[in-house]
């Protein structure tokens, strides 16, 4: 909302504040000022001049030499290319060293050898348009027809010196989308009187009845409909004061009738519409829901399809306007318009909102209606419009008002609870002061009951009353206290676990990433997810920004691959990344919320990265997470290299996958290096962790170590050998470590040599060599059973 200070002064005469102080005060009482602008502040050293002489330029046919009186001693010589100047004209003159709209600087100089000490200006050069001054032309000098004097500053001469404040009005305060509403806030903020004006209409040009009939068929969507008729309309430009105020409010002046409707909307916050009566068949207005299949061509020339949940203003046959949104093409004011109907109505907010949204045309009018307007504002606004018609001599106003009123128009009553309000706000304020604030805001307070003004539909609870008091008591005066009672804030076990996973991954050299939760369905193809995978069923966004972000991911691996790919294409030589990412698994029924689960996705490429470096990181994480005794099995899984992929299991249940990415996947992501990735079920990790930490006494007796090297089939996994050793060695085996795997010379094809280091220890005493030998014998037997033979 743009507020003209000149207009504001009609209602609040004196505001003892600078622009900055005004902005701060209003902001702190709840009407946030986004900024302000002094009109014409770009213009400097531009004055009114009078053309005294005109002479042709000796060296140029298209130029003329003017002698201009700028009220400062000798006339100025200025060369101009304009055609529309004549001796005696008053024109804007940019003097030497002046500045114009857009920061243009003017300096004296020579034009084709003739000295020129300034410039004559057009409207555009001043930053205004011919809408502001309809008598001016676009292509030529602005010949002033204003009551001004030679030498006068141009801003003052043409009234282009208003100050305009830009307000951010919250959706609960449609009353502040008006000069009067903001004037009320201003008056209370500064403790000044608010001077309201009661419109007076002379009328006397026949009766409205007989000229117009109004029938409201949908009172639920139209609580009030008021109308008056004006005959013998005389369409012409409005006076300068009105055009100035409209321009300052960001509205382009058109003609007196249109300008009056806009002026009243800005002043009262009540949208108005003017219908040409000759296009109202049977001189009838029917406010009804649109019929199935009905359409209307709106003022902007676009045909709009209507539906029965939309309210229209129709005549006998067809709609003339979409109620509260926009008029139809014949509802506007034309050159031959003679009789008009002013509409001042109240339409139901939600209906206007849906209609404007469905039709894709949000207008100044719909933006106000959708917030819910005051039915009691219809009549004063209508009267004001007719008063202005008479003031501007824009037509002859007929007597009588049509008023179809289905609203109660009563003030809402709330109990005033001073003690509750004081407690709620934490302030000490007298009841008297509360009442004063409320009364200034037009609330009536009598015997402990607050009657809320009808333009304040947002006040419906004592908390709302408390806010009114707080605003003008001053938020800055409310003390600061701390919540009483002692409370312990702490993280849950799962939150601590999450923090540990983050810390560990970062300690292992993996950087945390954050990826979008929504992806493209194509990402599933890119990762090689089988076309019949149930994971393809995703929560789908009905109105996505684009296909790229149209479904909620069921797997986070594609997001990780995107991040690896981006780093690769940005020429980062290596990258090690991870995320604890949410995945969204839809339930059977679409009416249920999906399950949101977390996965730890880990990925890396670059020097030093291979399957085992990643597996090592995962092993370290699992150790930190206290997930022990899990199983690792080779597996084939989409997205991964079939020979380089393992699944992690605990108690037969898979909780993670580690692998090198499939060459196809690398190609799909434009990754020119091998990359590895792991996906761990975060929630499973948390469930599988061993939360009990207990001290084990340090060994008292020395350990015996034995190295064993075996030759076995290449097919046999090392883990199988290791498990077999562990099972055979029994409780005295403290640790078994693989230290060598060898294939090649001295080992037959299809075979490999594997070497383990065993650490044996007894808790009861120093282990004897023969006991150790007995254990090793058992281990050898077990390995032989597996088909492995001891290497000599």
């Amino acid at each position: 909302m743009q507020l003209s200070m000149r207009w504001l002064h009609d209602f609040v005469e004196e505001i003892p504040a600078t622009n900055r102080e005004y902005a701060e005060r209003l902001t702190m009482t709840g009407s946030k000022v986004e900024g302000w602008e002094e009109e014409g502040s770009e213009l400097n050293k531009v004055v009114v001049g009078k053309i005294l002489e005109l002479a042709p330029h000796p060296n140029a046919d298209k130029l003329q030499i003017c002698q201009v009186d700028v009220g400062d001693g000798a006339p100025l010589q200025i060369v101009t290319g304009a055609k529309n100047v004549a001796v005696g004209d008053l024109v804007p003159v940019a003097l030497d060293g002046s500045s114009l709209h857009g920061g243009v600087k003017i300096k004296k100089g020579k034009l084709r050898g003739v000295a020129s000490n300034g410039m004559l200006c057009s409207v555009a050069e001043l930053g205004i348009t011919t809408h502001d001054f309809p008598y001016a032309i676009d292509d030529g000098i602005f010949i002033l027809q204003e009551d001004c004097r030679v030498g006068q500053d141009i801003r003052e001469a043409i009234g282009y010196n208003d100050t305009v404040f830009e307000f951010e009005i919250t959706s609960n305060r449609p009353d502040c989308l008006s000069v009067i509403g903001l004037a009320r806030e201003t008056a209370v903020s500064f403790g000044k009187p608010l001077k309201l004006h009661t419109p007076v209409v002379k009328g006397g040009h026949g009766d409205v009845n007989g000229l117009l009939k109004v029938r409201v068929e949908a009172p639920d969507l139209c609580p009030r409909y008021c109308a008056r008729v004006v005959k013998n309309v005389r369409v012409k430009p409005s006076p300068r004061w009105m055009r100035e105020r409209l321009r300052a409010s960001g509205v382009r002046p058109i003609n007196n009738i249109v300008d009056i409707t806009n002026y009243v909307m800005l002043e009262y916050g009540q949208p108005m519409h003017a219908f040409d009566q000759k296009y109202l068949k049977e001189q009838q207005i029917v406010v009804r829901r649109a019929k199935e299949g009905e359409s209307i061509v709106t003022l902007d020339g676009v045909e709009r399809k209507l539906s029965p949940d939309m309210l229209v203003i129709a005549d006998q046959d067809k709609p003339s306007a979409v109620a509260g949104v926009m008029g139809g093409e014949y509802s506007g004011i034309m050159d031959d318009t003679s009789t008009i109907v002013f509409e001042s109505a109240c339409f139901a907010g939600p209906s206007v909102r849906i209609t404007a949204k469905t039709l894709g045309m949000r207008t100044d009018s719909s933006a106000r209606f959708e917030k819910g307007l005051d039915p009691n504002n219809c009549i004063p606004a209508l009267e004001r419009a007719c008063e202005l018609v008479e003031l501007l001599d824009a037509g002859d106003v007929c007597d009588g008002i049509i008023d179809v009123n289905n609203s109660s128009g009563e003030r809402r009553k709330l109990a005033l609870e001073p003690e509750w309000i004081k407690r709620f706000l934490g302030i000490s304020i007298s009841e008297e002061e509360m009442v004063q604030i409320l009364q200034k805001l037009d609330f009536e307070v009598k015997e402990g009951v607050v009657a809320v003004p009808t333009f304040r539909a947002d006040v419906e609870h004592k908390a709302d009353v408390a806010e009114e008091i707080a605003r003008f008591y001053g938020y800055d005066r409310i003390p600061t206290t701390l919540v009483g009672g002692s409370a312990q804030g702490k993280l849950t076990e799962e939150q601590k676990f999450e923090r540990m996973v983050n810390d560990t991954m970062q300690a292992l050299g993996y950087s945390e990433i954050m990826t979008y939760s929504f992806i493209s369905p194509k990402f599933y193809d890119k990762i090689g997810l089988p076309s019949d995978s149930p994971l393809r069923r995703s929560v789908t966004i009905a109105n996505p920004l684009g296909e790229d972000t149209s479904i909620m991911r069921t797997i986070a691996l594609p997001s990780l691959c995107e991040a690896l790919s981006r780093n690769y294409s940005n020429r980062n030589l290596s990258a090690s990344l991870y995320e604890i990412a949410t995945e969204y698994i839809p339930k059977e029924s679409d009416s249920e919320l999906p399950v949101e689960k977390q996965s730890v996705v880990i990925g890396a490429y670059g020097e030093g990265t291979d399957f085992f470096s990643l597996k090592g990181a995962v092993e370290a994480l699992l150790e930190k997470a206290r997930v022990f005794d899990y199983d690792v099995q080779p597996t084939e899984e989409y997205a991964f290299h079939p020979g380089r992929c393992a699944q992690l299991l605990k108690d037969g249940k898979v909780f993670g996958v580690i692998g090198e990415l499939h060459p196809k996947v690398l190609e799909n992501y434009g990754l020119g290096a091998r990359a590895c990735a792991a996906v761990l079920d975060f929630n499973a990790l948390f469930a599988l962790r061993d939360p009990v930490r207990q001290y084990q006494p340090l060994p008292k007796f020395p350990a015996v170590t034995r190295d064993l090297a075996f030759v076995c089939d290449d097919e046999i996994p090392v883990l199988a050998l290791k498990k077999s050793i562990a099972a055979a060695a029994g409780s005295r085996l403290e640790k078994v470590t693989l230290f060598d795997v060898y294939k090649g010379k001295q080992v037959a094809d299809g075979k490999k040599s594997v070497a383990f280091n065993l650490v044996l220890r007894s808790a009861d005493g120093t282990l004897k060599d023969e006991d150790a030998d007995a254990i090793v014998k058992k281990v050898r037997k077990a390995l032989t059973d597996l088909g492995a033979e001891l290497r000599s």
Partner: protein
Amino acid sequence: MRQQLEDIKKRVEEELAKVDVQQELENLRIRFLGKKGELTSILKQMGKLSAEERPVIGQLANEIRGQLEREIEERGQKLKAMETERRLKAERIDVTMPGKRHELGYKHPLSIVLDELKEIFLGMGFDVVQGPEVESDYYNFEALNIPKNHPARDTQDTFYINDSILLRTQTSPVQIRTMEKQKPPIRIIAPGRVYRSDAVDATHSPLFHQIEGLVVDKGITMADLKGTLEVFVKRLYGEDAVVRFRPHHFPFTEPSAEVDVQCFHCHGEGCRLCKGEGWIEILGCGMVHPKVLSICGIDPEEYSGFAFGVGLERLVMRRFNIDDLRLFYENDLRFLSQF
């Protein structure tokens, strides 16, 4: 014999002066003082001496032995020191060569600040709770006093899944879920992802993070709201941060406020950083609307509360002077490794 002893002493001392390796020193010791050494073998001839001479020579021999041992020991110490010095000299390295690095992993800048916020609120007795991101219209809007076709819905362009399910546009639904489950006293923050249908550019993202806060108890006042948030802002920005509470409107709080901090750059004068306003908005807050309490089954006559919501991204952008929001979600290591 006396002469022999003196002779040995002289020879040992002569050779000792030439020895410059530890091992030679040991050899020397063995040669003269060892079990089969020269001094020992002379002493073995003691028997040939007269009874008068024996104790005199014996004492002399012992003196010489003792002296030689000390001298060898001293020489040994000296040699050791020299050798250490030689080694240290030989082992000199160029300490300006780069260290052998273990690759570091970096915490995402959003996490850095979020963790800081969590610490602040944990310290003030708040718990951290979570809620679903795919949320029902009821929790995201209706229960927060934003009925269908309420104009406030326009300010939050929503991604819908269907008529009743959407991507939450704010973390505020966690307020409702918490109040439904837990009776007062309640003191929680709820950080998380929120979604709005904004096209991606330097200052907009369809996905961003908020931190919701909620306190409900008997006798909670707006002064408590101000006090709590003032502490928060000062912990975050330093004790000299200037805070202001400005009236605003949210459908689920009443009275509502926005909290601004005075621009650090211009101290309220107005500059480019604060777009001339002198203040930078950092969060929205207010007293929980009694209607919302009622919806959650909490009696507004008995209890009151306050709530607030902070946008994380803008906070982090200002903290680290980041000018493009997209960087957070591009995950380029050249960006991530700066934090």
